[in-house]
C-alpha cells in the first residue's frame, strides 16, 4: 500500500507546517535564567519576610518553565489540536480529583467529624517523631486487666474463661478454654504473653486470636496475662 508511506522516512513532516525554526538556544537560556530566579526566590523571601514571594517564584516559575519546555521542546505548539485537548483533559481531571478529595484529606475537621490523629501529628511536630518514633496509642482511659478481659477477651473466651463467649461459638478452632487442664499442659506464661502480644499465629496457633500488642503496653499485657493465668485450675 502506498498511503502514508513517507511518514517514517521524514520525521517532522507530521507537524502542521512542516519544519519550523525555533531558537532552541534562546529558549534554553531563558529556562536557565528562570531556574536561577526560582532558586534565589527563597532567599529573597527570607530577606523581605514575604513568604508569598517564595511561592510565586517556586510554582509560578515552574509553570512558566514547564510551558516553555512543552510548547517548544516537545513541539506541542505545532501539534494537532486533538493532542492538546487530550493532555488538557488529563490535567483538568487531576485538578478535579484533588478538589474532590481535599475536603477529607487536607482538612482535619469538617461537618461532624474531626481527624484527631492528624491534629495530634501537627501538634507533635516532625522532629519529635524522628527522635522518638514512638507510635501514639489510642488506648481508652482507665486500664484494668479485668476490664480489658471483660470488654475484649470475654467476647470469645467467656467471662469465666471457659471458651464459651457468645462470639466464640462459631469459631473453628474454638476459642481456648482456660479452665481446662489439658490446655495448660503445654503452655506457660511466656507463651500467653507472646500470644497476647503478637497473636496466636505467631506461635503456630489459630490466626483467629488476634495480636493486641498494638493496643496495650507491655505492662498492661503482663497484667492481662496474669489475669488469664488465674483461670488455670489449681495444681
Amino acid at each position: 500500500m502506498s498511503e502514508n508511506k513517507d511518514i517514517e522516512q521524514h520525521p517532522g513532516d507530521g507537524h502542521e507546517g512542516g519544519h519550523h525554526h525555533i531558537n532552541y538556544l534562546g529558549i534554553y537560556l531563558a529556562l536557565v535564567v528562570l531556574f536561577l530566579i526560582s532558586v534565589a526566590g527563597p532567599e529573597v523571601g527570607e530577606l523581605t519576610g514575604l513568604r508569598w514571594i517564595t511561592l510565586v517564584t517556586a510554582f509560578g516559575i515552574a509553570i512558566v518553565k514547564a510551558n516553555l519546555v512543552i510548547q517548544n521542546f516537545m513541539h506541542l505548539k505545532w501539534e494537532k489540536r486533538l493532542m492538546k485537548w487530550m493532555l488538557a483533559t488529563s490535567l483538568i481531571l487531576m485538578f478535579l480529583m484533588v478538589a474532590g478529595i481535599s475536603p477529607d484529606v487536607m482538612n482535619h475537621e469538617g461537618n461532624n467529624w474531626e481527624n484527631i490523629a492528624a491534629k495530634a501529628a501537627v501538634e507533635r511536630g516532625v522532629e519529635a517523631e524522628v527522635e522518638e518514633a514512638e507510635p501514639v496509642e489510642v488506648v481508652a482511659v482507665g486500664f484494668s486487666a479485668e476490664g480489658a478481659y471483660r470488654s475484649i477477651c470475654a467476647t470469645c473466651h467467656g467471662a469465666e474463661g471457659m471458651g464459651d463467649g457468645p462470639a466464640g461459638a462459631a469459631l473453628v478452632p474454638p476459642p481456648a478454654n482456660f479452665t481446662d487442664p489439658a490446655f495448660w499442659a503445654d503452655r506457660d506464661r511466656d507463651r500467653i504473653v507472646a500470644v497476647l502480644e503478637n497473636g496466636a499465629a505467631s506461635v503456630g496457633g489459630s490466626s483467629l486470636m488476634a495480636a493486641y500488642g498494638g493496643l496495650y503496653t507491655d505492662d498492661q499485657i503482663s497484667e492481662l496475662a496474669d489475669y488469664v493465668m488465674a483461670f488455670a485450675p489449681g495444681e
Binding site: M74, S102, R124
Partner: protein, 192 residues
C-alpha cells in the same frame, strides 16, 4: 507481505505519525500517575504545616544542580531532534549521548544525595514527608533510568542512520521527565 511492519503501523488517519500519537497517549497516562501522587502529597503537605521542619533538611543546592542538569539534557535532546530532522544521524546520536550523560549525572548526584540523607537518619520510614519524598523522587528516577536505556538503543540506531523519527519520540518523553522534575523541585526542595 513485503512490509516488515504491519500496514496498520504505517497508516495515519489523524495526520499524526503513529509513534508520536502513542507517545502522547503514554504521557497522558503518566500525567495522571504523577498527578495522583503529587496531588496526594500536596494535600498532605498543606494539611501538615509541621512537615516544613522535615523539608528543611532537603538540600536545595543539590536539587538545584540536578534541575540544571536535566534542563541541559533536555536542551541536547531537542538539538538531537533537530539534527535528526536534517537527516544527520551521527550528530543526533552524539547529542543523544550527551543527553544520556546528563541522565547519568543526575542519577549519580541523586544517589549521593540520598546516601547522605539516609546516613542522617532520614529514611523512607522516618516520617510521611520522607515517605513521599522518596516515593516521588524514586518514581521520577525510575523514569530517568528507563529513558536513558531507551535512548541508548535509539542513539545506536540513529548512528547508523536508521529509525531517525525515534529521536523525536524519545525526546518528547525526555522533556516530559524534565517537566515532572521542574514541578518536583519546588514541591520537595524550595517550598519549606
Amino acid at each position: 507481505m513485503a512490509h516488515a511492519k504491519p500496514l496498520a503501523t504505517l497508516r495515519s488517519a489523524t495526520g499524526i505519525p503513529t509513534g508520536r500519537l502513542a507517545v502522547w497517549w503514554v504521557l497522558a497516562s503518566e500525567v495522571v500517575i504523577f498527578g495522583g501522587l503529587l496531588g496526594s502529597y500536596l494535600m498532605h503537605r498543606i494539611g501538615h504545616p509541621e512537615w516544613a521542619a522535615a523539608a528543611a533538611h532537603t538540600q536545595t543546592w543539590i536539587g538545584a544542580v540536578n534541575t540544571f542538569v536535566l534542563l541541559t539534557s533536555s536542551f541536547t535532546a531537542v538539538l538531537a531532534h533537530q539534527a535528526a530532522e536534517r537527516g544527520n544521524g551521527k550528530e543526533a546520536a552524539k547529542l543523544l549521548g550527551l543527553t544520556i550523560l546528563g541522565a547519568l549525572t543526575f542519577l549519580v548526584i541523586k544517589s549521593f544525595e540520598w546516601a547522605n540523607e539516609i546516613s542522617h537518619g532520614y529514611t523512607i520510614t522516618a516520617n510521611t514527608f520522607w515517605s513521599f519524598y522518596y516515593t516521588a523522587a524514586g518514581l521520577h528516577a525510575l523514569h530517568v533510568i528507563a529513558g536513558g536505556i531507551i535512548m541508548g538503543f535509539v542513539a545506536f540506531d540513529a548512528y547508523r542512520g536508521r529509525e531517525l523519527h525515534r529521536v523525536e519520540l524519545i525526546g518528547i518523553y525526555w522533556h516530559f521527565v524534565d517537566v515532572v522534575w521542574i514541578f518536583l523541585f519546588p514541591l520537595l526542595y524550595i517550598a519549606k
